[in-house]
């Protein structure tokens, strides 16, 4: 019997980010318009495995999902053991642009979730002309914090388990048990302090409340999609952000939480296919 192979292929690409050599892991599938997918804080590209295996999408899009530096199978930079990881607006933006350039992608579309959604807003602010379309999932220009990130990295609390337990409440109760727990499993596997380091960007460095007013959707279309059960980035946060961006398209997703593509792939598909149809 032939092996039951899934369609995505994983490889590593070398890229320089802010002058530092990196070895980035990515998975890709499909042909056509490049669609770069950005995972959430403290997670990795596996969140997009259902999109990568969806022929309805991959017949029109070359879907690429890469692990951010320090995440998943991407190798942390040399000397990582002597630094405390902190993601910033500048370093995050640089990593995405470096991946796109290293892969020689021609005006890709970019879709990101959570911190990936927030940075998509920054791409729309600062680099819109480089992209064909931008999709921000669970994104807003700013959100009120709901816990102290100091609990995420300390020796007396298991980092993976506390990260997963905290974000478990962001998953909609309607999401299937299997995909809920697969999403949490990924959260249990982040490197020490990585989720916390990502949230530095989210909480401290990435306040875009003034800057989103400069977004010009005529240069690059922007789509915002947020799940109704996301109490981290609430629908109200997204709708408030949208009021400052003429031409943006907003969708509030029913029975979905903070991880639409991994917590409930079938439900997310209903919402993302119409958006992708507009892009292609």
């Amino acid at each position: 019997m032939a092996p039951k192979l899934e369609p995505m292929i994983g490889r590593y690409v070398r890229a320089e980010i802010e002058g530092v050599p990196h070895r980035l892991y990515f998975e890709e599938a499909g042909q056509g318009i490049p669609l770069v997918c950005l995972h959430t804080a403290g997670a990795d590209n596996r969140q997009y495995r259902h999109l990568l295996a969806d022929p309805e999408i991959t017949k029109r899009f070359r879907v690429l999902a890469f692990d951010m530096p320090w995440h998943g199978k991407s190798t942390p930079p040399d000397g990582w053991e002597k630094t405390e990881y902190r993601l910033t607006t500048q370093s995050y933006t640089a990593a995405i642009r470096a991946f796109c350039q290293a892969m020689e992608l021609d005006k890709p579309a970019v879709m990101g979730c959570s911190i990936g959604g927030r940075i998509v807003l920054n791409l729309a602010i600062a680099h819109a002309s480089e992209f064909r379309a931008l999709i921000a999932l669970e994104a807003a220009d700013f959100q009120q914090p709901w816990y102290d990130t100091a609990w995420l990295h300390r020796p007396d609390v298991h980092g993976g388990e506390v990260c997963a337990a905290l974000v478990s409440g962001l998953i909609a109760p309607q999401s299937p048990a299997v995909t809920r727990h697969e999403t949490l499993w990924m959260y249990m596997q982040g490197g020490p302090g990585v989720f916390k380091g990502d949230l530095y960007f989210y909480r401290v460095d990435g306040d875009l409340r003034e800057k989103v007013k400069t977004i010009d959707t005529k240069v690059c279309p922007l789509y915002l999609l947020t799940g109704e059960y996301d109490f981290s980035c609430t629908p109200d946060d997204t709708l408030r952000t949208a009021t400052h961006i003429p031409g943006v398209e907003v969708t509030i997703m029913k029975e979905v939480g903070h991880f639409p593509m991994s917590e409930n792939p079938a439900k997310f598909r209903e919402y993302i296919l119409p958006v992708l149809a507009k892009i292609s």
Partner: protein, 124 residues
Amino acid sequence: MTAADRFAAIPTLLAADADLLRRGRWLTVEARIDIGNEPFFLSIADGALKGFERGARLMRSTAFSFTATDEAWTNYWEPMPAPGWHDLFALTKRGVASMAGDLRPLLQNLQYFKDLLALPRGRR
């Protein structure tokens, strides 16, 4: 049946949940859970309840407490809770619940406590 009456079923519900008992097996702690104005004192040993007392106790000491309004618990325990009422931290963020004391045992066993406090969900 009041929200506190529903919470009073926790010992029976936990005793019947072998998976939750397994996941809590490293946990021994004294905790206070307030259902509206009614305090409950939980003595947890190796994940099981060795003590469960309802009502005020003079000068009773616990490691931490978690307090929420009757409305918060009632909504939290809906079979399919509405957005913003479906998680302990959703409740604290909206200002209808709070936590106090030494939160370390809570955070060390967070999923256990989320699941423990959700046991009355869908049961009346």
